[in-house]
Symmetry: C2
Subunit: 95 residues, 2 copies
DNA sequence: AGTGTTTACGGCGACCGTAAATATG
DNA sequence: CATATTTACGGTCGCCGTAAACACT
């Protein structure tokens, strides 16, 4: 499992559409489809239901979505927590 | 940033020694040293202080350690949350 | 000189993108 | 037949391991 897989999963879950998610992520559909499949295999349970109109979250997917968001949020928090003052950040603290 | 980098970082932080961490992770020292360096570069701040006896957590490293552990714990929680009953798990729940 | 970390180099595996195939209405 | 996902194939990037070099006591 990788952080990218989690990001892919969240985007697809939010869009309900792999093609739409691929545009949002600036990636093509095949990698997304594949990574989601790998993720499902690794977790041992399907996350989406494939429909001819897109994809739809299953119960496991809905549960996993909550956790995936928390992981990504925590990663961002970790980065923020050690962000040096000299980094190119929002100019909210002039001194 | 990758989950492996976080795992490496936590192991090194806990051991205070790259060589020791490498044994614990079943990896050789160079990859660990490199990944930590990449991580530091990506974060824009050093995490460890290199000493002739090993490494030592800096303040940023100490802060990051807390978050890294939370990320990894949350990843594990995510996996557990969707773990199927039929998976090959520890035989602690006969039914 | 000994311990520990770092850099150099070669090899392997993973991921992405384009193109073709499959499935549903 | 149109839309959306999936599989096949080729190329590129990243990570790991061994070996050599560097730093400090």
């Amino acid at each position: 499992m990788s952080l990218n897989q989690l990001r892919y999963f969240v985007a697809i879950a939010e869009e309900g559409h792999i093609g739409r998610a691929s545009q949002r992520l600036f990636v093509s559909q095949p990698p997304l489809s594949r990574q989601i499949r790998y993720l499902e295999e690794e977790l041992g349970t399907p996350l989406f239901e494939r429909t001819p109109r897109g994809v739809r979250l299953l119960e496991a997917g809905d549960t996993f979505l909550i956790h995936a968001r928390r992981v990504l949020a925590e990663v961002d928090a970790a980065i923020e927590a050690v962000r040096p003052p000299r980094a190119a950040g929002p100019p909210s603290e002039p001194d």
